[in-house]
Amino acid sequence: MGGSAIICRGLVKRYKDVVAVAGLDLEVRSGECFGLLGPNGAGKTTTVEILEGLIAPDEGEVEVLGMRWASDDHAIRERIGVQLQETKLADKLTVEEIVTLFRSFYRRGHAVDEVLDIVQLGEKRKTWVSRLSGGQRQRLAIACALVSDPDILFLDEPTTGLDPQSRRQLWDVVAAFRARGGTILLTTHYMDEAERLCDRVAVVDHGKTIAFGTPKELIASLGAEHVIEFALQEGQAPPEDAALLALPGVHEVRANAGRTTLTVEELHRSLPAVIAELQRRGLGMTELSTHHATLEDLFLHLTGRHLRDE
């Protein structure tokens, strides 16, 4: 533990007329799980692929485990495990055959059986990839990344498109790797994933880091821990923002698609006041919900947009 696993400074990558990464700095410490959180197209994948040595940056410096791409490629590849966003492994090979193939590329690492146990695919060892479910395929991809017992694990949107149970299984695998002292760099556009797995996150938008810290710190930076959301009966307009902001503990007011969102410090003080204010104005609610503030709320606060634009 301690020290930096990955450092990058001033990373820039342009594609024709698009700037995918616009001067990004990052430091991932050894033994932590670091999350790059941002919407699709924020430059997360480009950043990760630069760090994995698959894309050369136009500008900036990258250091992985104290080594540099172009001079130490082979040595770095021996010590990192990579799961790419879109890889489709060979359909007609079995789970065991594919992991054995990947194992053969590395000087050291786990036994194949060991890795299959780690990702809970032991029972599927003789099954063709084409017959695996989405979640199983993703765990196989992670088995291929883990088979060298790497120092750093790169995961690019590992749970996108998976059902809740598969996501939790995958989180368990990641958490177990982290618990054994591994370093993880993870990209995601799921805030719950980042909050659950990551020690620290960088929120990325338009190729730049717009916020940086532990999930707790970032949420605390909103200045309020809770969120109240309500919707009114049709045809009724919510009170003006100033009136809501005047209520006790309310920090921020946003209207979004017929719903009003309030960021508040303490639920037990603000919620009764909000309900009383609406009743006083004769407004009827059709929906009312509260939740702990999340990174999603932070992203909304920073950019005015949702992480996932539905």
């Binding site: 040595g53 590849r77 990192i80 790419l84 890889t87 489709k88 492994l89 007609k92 090979l93």
Partner: protein
């Protein structure tokens, strides 16, 4: 080499993927045999058809028909002049005989069949009117193995097969892996790039041995095709061919980003060779000006060499030219492919 050497594992993966694809297996093994059977039936050796000859109706027609009725090689009918002319024009009879003095033979002199009909019919007519043979004749009929169409065809089918599997087996597989981002994933591992490329060649060697044994074995068993040359010479030729086409497949795949793209390019490269390189009929049918070009096509070199070894028992020393052509293609394509290959 230990079992977990990456080269062994990569080659095994190629091999498994190839044989677990039912389409590929049937394309490689069943298709050439079916084609050989179909073409073997269409162009089977059979006694020459009797030549159709018309006698124009009129004086003396019936007596001439009666005299020619015994001729084995002719099928004779008496027709009105209009009908006879129409049939001659459309090729349903090869010759029209107009009885009289002199006897008139009406035929199209540019048609081989009509020439034959004229010779055979004239022979019969002269005999029927009493000509005697000047010398005694004895006929010996042979059907020599190695001179039949199927004997010509089989080495050509094998050459075409080696071209197809070499190019598809390598080219399509590489592009497929690029499309699936599997190439990218492999590059992210410490796999040696040379191991990856060599594994294709190794997997090809194993499949080539199977293909060749199967096709030639089937040809010998089903059609009695002769195998007169040395097995070693044959193996050398087949390997040189397989590797030349693997190189060509790799070259085509080296920068292609889509499966449709590689499909089109493959057909563009293979189509001219199917026609020009003497697979189904001899390349000698093309004009002399084209011959130098045709001779240096890899499929021509492969077909010529396979045929020479199988049918004529030619040794390696006499096959220097086609072997040099194949090796040149192999070296050139692999070299360029490695230079311009796109991993991501």
């Amino acid at each position: 080499m230990r079992a977990h050497h990456p080269l062994v594992q990569l080659t095994l993966a190629r091999f498994r993927e190839f044989f677990r694809q039912p389409e590929t297996v049937s394309w490689v093994f069943a298709f050439p045999i079916l084609l050989a059977v179909a073409l073997g039936i269409a162009f089977r050796n059979r006694p020459p058809d009797r030549v159709r000859v018309a006698i124009q109706a009129g004086a003396g027609a019936d007596s001439l028909a009666a005299r020619l009725a015994g001729a084995q090689a002719l099928r004779v009918e008496v027709l009105d002049s209009a009908i006879a002319a129409a049939r001659l024009r459309t090729g349903r009879v090869a010759l029209v005989i107009v009885p009289g003095e002199p006897v008139v033979y009406r035929f199209d002199s540019t048609r081989t069949e009509s020439h034959v009909a004229r010779l055979v019919a004239d022979d019969e007519v002269q005999r029927a009117y009493g000509r005697r043979d000047a010398r005694a004749i004895r006929e010996v009929k042979i059907t020599e193995k190695g001179a039949r169409y199927i004997d010509f065809l089989l080495p050509g089918l094998l050459g075409m097969n080696l071209m197809g599997t070499g190019m598809w087996g390598v080219g399509f597989a590489v592009v497929n892996m690029r499309v699936r981002k599997l190439l990218k994933r492999l590059v992210a591992s410490p796999m040696r790039h040379s191991h990856f490329l060599v594994s294709f060649a190794l997997a090809r060697l194993a499949t080539v041995a199977l293909e060749v044994t199967f096709l030639i074995g089937a040809g010998m068993l089903i059609f009695g095709v002769p195998f007169r040359g040395s097995v070693v010479a044959f193996a050398v030729v087949a390997l040189a061919g397989a590797l030349a086409f693997s190189g060509l497949g790799l070259l085509i795949a080296s920068r292609t980003q889509t499966e449709e793209g590689v499909n089109g390019l493959m057909n563009l490269v293979m189509m001219p060779m199917w026609i020009l390189s003497g697979t189904f009929f001899s390349a000698a049918n093309f004009p002399d000006v084209m011959q130098p070009f045709i001779k240096v096509l890899p499929l021509t070199a492969l077909n010529d060499a396979l045929r020479a070894v199988m049918l004529d028992g030619t040794g390696l020393a006499a096959l220097a030219f086609p072997l040099v052509v194949l090796v040149a293609w192999m070296v050139a394509t692999f070299t360029v492919a490695l230079k311009i290959f796109r991993w991501l």
